[in-house]
Symmetry: C2
Subunit: 747 residues, 2 copies
């Protein structure tokens, strides 16, 4: 699509759509509610072997030796894999070591070796026969510990990147970067009021229902086929290609259905081990994690230590802002502090801002993405600081935000200038909402907060084939986590003027569709939907041309609207898409469409919450009494799924706010690695999550779509903290807001 | 592809190809030789039920009643299906009745009812509990019996179509048609020599190794998913849509690998029954035929009764030819006599010709296609008559054929005028071959024969996605019976100038590719290869455009050859396809290609045999001592697979010539329905089949391809008969040439 095309086709959200904005039943619904859908662990193959993984009991230890001989000798054991089985290439040691540790175990749960056996029980038995000699070291479990003078060092070869330069200093701080806008020294000097505070958040897990699992078959022709539940089969393919030093085209990844991911199923864990074990045995090998392994051996989102300092004029204009953020990368560098830094001040138009980000390794599992990764941590600080500032200024908390809100043209401290955005519209919708306009019940606390998350573009592909009955088959490569088959199909249906029930979407494997990036970054409906839009335009163009051939007229004299091709000049010439479809074969062959896009017109999304809480005075238990989520979604393709995303993100935020944390002992062992002890909210813990969809069209997308999947998890933690503060009068600087923490907060 | 495009792109067989004409290893080879490939009966699903089919023991009977109550009551039986379970719509009664009989059983083996049960054994037990009351009728088993005055009538409502008009006469002759060219009365009057003889051939089976099988799952959303081994998943979809009165888009057919088809796996048998049983039970139902069921319940190729009369001048010029051909349709109209009539005289340029065709129903399984269906029967007569004529004229048998051979511009008696063909080149290659030039050993007989078969076009689709490593994934919908994944991939590789190992072809289901017609009619490499050619051209065009964008030059100034894009004017501008592929994402997104074609430029193929036989004087057993197969293939994309087709067709022809037949008793029961008794040739029965590929490019295809799969089965029966005649001095008018028949022939 050229810019000119795009401008020609651009349709903003006030258009009278036929399909977009409706709420059809999802195409994969029947398969899922009847249990027919195949998830990762459901996969089976003849001669299947079962793999299990030995994990380190120590959070920090040197691995002196691994002796697998007794395990290999056990009857029923077919192969054992260690990290030595991977190609020892340069550049991916950390990635490789996180799959199977080499010189050091860096967290309790770190994978050490894999076993393939005829049954999972034999494999488990064999794990106990693997003899690993550890030299146990002292662990560091928080950024504070890790950054302390004289802290135990995780990686002897890791030197700090200091503002883009290698400092040469060995430390647990992998990277320190800054974003600078204006002059905060001057800004704070100009301020009438200053607030400054430090906040801590704990490590939390995405809590997807389905643990990780994958099956690999390494063929005798040197081709690897992997079936797994993951957020992007092409990402799995790329990771495997890197780890196994193979060309991507030698690897085929078939996605199964996925039971939740939230970012945590972007990385791979068991698949490379299964691949190695399959290569050794010639048989397919399946590995399924337990819940405990999922907690201890996959990637949670980091705990963090954040300092926010804000200065403002007495009229509420923020003159300066400083964020100092250190985030746990886990065992290997790569926390989401970079994204946090891009989001922390981005709701506001602040003249002078400084953001310091620290990426710090600690003896916990390597962090992975979790819905707007980093942004909830940052907002927990920033949005509490905003409320504290409002308190000091005696301003309404929403008015203060509106006074400083970012709009089209605002430059973010990290550089980009916003195109059309909906932060103001979200805040106005919050302000005008009956929830905010209603006096809170006695004894309740009320808080608000808002958060920003960009969405990404990246590659997506789509193919369409027209059936003789006028329906179309649509093929795409995006893992469908939350209904994206249907939202993507709706794009094509709208373009062709056919009901979405006449579109059959299929998510196919990496051998049978163009490269499609991960389902994540709020990109799927945006980018793969765009690909569907383009592929449907390809079909539309050919349909008009075909009709022109049939009628022997110039294609330019024809148009296609609402599924009818007609002449602009001759009212006799009219044919439905269905009629054309039935004639395709005889008039030149079938019609198929294709598109591969990497769209640049991404549009960020803002989400805000209004939350009422009550607090049990005796126990300190916080109950969320009322919860309203407002989000600018650009254009809601399928409003029910948008609302589902808003509610889902809100609930995850509530869990994060009130209960969830990796509860670790001093040795770095997780004490609550089951869903009984790691307490995620259930429906009994929750009020109805009211949703308000705001539609400020993204001018960068043909239908005005913004990515909606993530922003909604950002405001709950500060909004709830603000509500608790409102009820107790105490500022809450630590997550989670457990009953104990609430009781303690006043002391 | 417009005609202009085609002419621009047309490359005839003398071009210096890089990939076309080489012999790469097939992409699916490892899966197949290691047993990993999934065939129809391998398919499994959770909750799978097993279906079995009750079949009529009578060749001709009225069905008075079917009582399924006892079967339904058997423990473990989940459902029973009869023809009443199908929508009783107009227009498909014969098709429906052949799946499950309604008022009459028309052959021994005719399916009556289906049972689904928890195990195949229970299902089998239940069959015995179904009570069918038959009124047994006298069967007719050959066209002679069926056409006889007063013959028992199979279909009371069937009236003969007589030269295009409904005669109103109820009979077993469904259709009598004629092709007339010139005036045979005058032609025979002008003849110096006339030969006239009657020939009979028996019913034979394709003998594919894998019996029919299929699994169906009728979802609660009303969508039907079928997994089966078939020659065309879209054909299965269309047939099911017709039988079940559903839109095609509600049906998904996933092709498994196929263990041979040869035309016999174009129709469906068990799939609709499995679908009905699945609808009734909500569970997936699998039905696998036994070998006996495959013989008795699927579609063999017909027995036939053929009269050939030829007249010629003494110089060998044929002045007139008359073919009278009656073929068994089996239980329902639709024998391949139509195709036989299009082929019988098409090797020759004959001024006066008359062809009479009779489509006759008999009490045998409904006939199905078998490699060049009808043509071997016709050639058995025609090519023996040609030898008899050569004998009478004292001419060399190849010289007589060359004297009359059809060439470009020859009009066939059925109408079409040949474009460039290779009949003459095949005959010349035969004449000049060392086999023909070498004196035959003492006591051996030598025969020659030639046959013609057209190839069809029809719809095919192909998608291509470029991988970042410069390889491509190719998706197509053609069942791969004989290596077509690779031959199709070679088209794309040639266009893009990449090794075929860099193409990964996948055969996908009906939901994920454009409509693709059956693998049959010698069309797959021709038409789906053409689609691959076009899809690769789509990729090529975009690759050039992308390079132009990167270099900021006009695309017209660039060219792409041997996998390198370069400027016609600036020698600095050069980039391999691989280099471009690695930059796709950042320069506008991925590159994908698509094509859907219905090519018209089909090119017929001629195949000829030279055969030496020895005959055991005591037993009459014929041994094929030397066998040469010559075929015009247009352009051999993958010569090994072409040779494989030539050898395979030859061997099937040898089996048909010497051993194979449905051996039936008077009641119409097959007495040899196992592969022990139905004697197909094994490698021990065969000499090496020498192959000679002749390449007379098809001017209707970009690479000059002709369909090669079928013509090779036509000449063996007459060539062997001619060889036996040469050895014995007796003309062989009946197939098979069993030892008994050979001994009898002189008497």
């Amino acid at each position: 699509m050229t810019t000119a095309d795009y401008e020609r086709n651009m349709i903003l959200s006030n258009v009278d759509y036929k399909v977009i904005g409706t709420r059809p039943v999802r195409h994969d619904g029947a398969d899922k509610v009847t249990g027919r859908a195949i998830y990762g662990a459901d996969f089976d193959a003849s001669g299947l072997l079962h793999g299990k993984i030995l994990r380190s009991p120590h959070a920090h230890a040197r691995i002196v030796s691994i002796d697998t001989s007794k395990a290999e000798a056990l009857e029923g054991v077919k192969a054992v894999a260690t990290t030595a089985d991977f190609p020892q290439k340069d550049g991916n040691k950390w990635l490789r070591d996180n799959i199977l540790a080499s010189d050091k175990a860096l967290y309790a749960g770190h994978a050490i070796a894999g076993v393939a056996a005829a049954s999972p029980h034999v494999a488990e038995e064999a794990l106990a026969l693997i003899e690993v000699k550890y030299e146990v070291l002292e662990p560091v479990l928080t950024t504070q510990e890790a950054m302390a003078e004289g802290a135990p060092i995780l990686h002897e070869g890791l030197t700090t990147q200091e503002l883009g330069e290698d400092s040469g200093v060995v430390s647990n701080t992998a990277n320190h970067f800054q974003h600078v806008k204006g002059d905060i020294g001057k800004g704070f000097k100009d301020a009438d009021v200053i607030v400054e505070r430090e906040y801590d958040t704990k490590t939390v897990h995405q809590g997807y229902i389905e643990p990780h699992s994958g099956t690999a078959l390494w063929g005798p022709d040197g081709r690897l086929h992997v079936w797994c539940s993951n957020q992007g089969s092409f990402v799995v393919r790329d990771s495997l290609a890197d780890l196994l030093d193979m060309p991507v085209s030698k690897i085929r990844v078939t996605p199964t259905e996925i039971g939740g991911g939230f970012g945590g199923k972007i990385p791979i864990y068991v698949e490379p081990v299964a691949a190695i074990l399959s290569k050794k045995t010639g048989a397919p090998v399946k590995i399924v994690m337990s819940r405990k392994e999922t907690f201890e051996g996959s990637g949670p989102t980091p705990g963090s230590n954040i300092k926010i300092k804000l200065g403002a004029k007495s009229d509420g204009t923020i003159t300066a802002a400083h964020a100092w953020m250190a985030m746990e990368a886990g065992a290997y560098p790569g926390s989401p502090v970079g994204a946090a830094a891009q989001c922390v001040f981005s709701t506001y138009d602040i003249e002078n801002a400084l953001i310091d980000g620290y990426d710090v390794v600690v003896n916990k599992p390597k962090t992975a993405a979790y819905r707007a990764p980093g942004a909830p941590n940052a907002a927990f600080g920033m949005e509490q600081a905003m409320n504290e500032l409002a308190g000091k200024l005696g301003m309404d908390q929403i008015d203060l935000r509106l006074k400083n809100v970012a709009v089209e043209g605002t430059r973010r401290p990290d550089g980009p200038v916003f195109r059309r955005i909906g932060a103001k519209e979200v805040l106005e919708a919050m302000r005008d909402h009956p929830h905010y306009q209603t006096t809170k019940p006695d004894g309740h606390g009320r808080g608000v907060a808002i958060g920003f998350w960009f969405n990404i573009g990246f590659d997506s592909a789509c193919n369409i084939a027209v059936n003789s009955d006028g329906s179309i088959n649509l093929t795409e490569g995006s893992t469908d986590i939350g209904g994206s088959r249907t939202s993507i199909a709706m794009h094509a249906a709208e373009v062709l003027g056919i009901p979405v029930e006449d579109v059959r979407p299929s998510v196919v494997d990496t051998d049978t569709i163009g490269f499609t990036a991960v389902t994540g970054g709020s990109r799927t409906t945006f980018a793969t939907g765009w690909a569907a839009y383009e592929a449907a335009q390809d079909v539309r163009t050919q349909s008009i041309e075909r009709a022109a051939t049939i009628w022997d007229v110039n294609p330019d004299s024809l148009d296609m609207e609402d599924g009818v091709i007609s002449s602009k000049t001759d009212s006799e010439l009219k044919m439905t898409f269905k009629e054309l479809a039935s004639q395709m074969s005889d008039t030149g062959g079938g019609i198929t469409g294709r598109a591969a896009v990497n769209p640049k017109g991404v549009g960020g999304s803002f989400a805000g919450n209004i939350v009422d809480v009550s607090i049990d005075g005796e126990t300190g238990k916080v109950t969320v009494e009322r919860f309203t989520c407002v989000q600018d979604v650009g254009k809601a393709i399928h409003p029910s799924y948008v609302e589902g995303q808003m509610q889902g993100g809100s609930v995850q935020g509530i869990g994060w706010a009130l209960n969830e944390e990796y509860f670790m002992n001093d040795q770095g062992n997780m004490a609550n690695s089951s869903l009984l002890d790691y307490r995620m909210p259930t429906s009994l813990d929750l009020p109805m999550i009211d949703t308000v969809i705001v539609e400020v069209a993204n001018t960068g997308h043909p239908f005005g779509v913004r990515g909606v999947g993530e922003a909604n998890i950002i405001p709950p933690t500060p909004a709830i903290a603000n509500a608790v503060s409102d009820a107790t009068g105490n500022i809450m600087t630590q997550l989670p807001l457990t009953p104990g923490a609430v009781l303690e907060s006043g002391k």
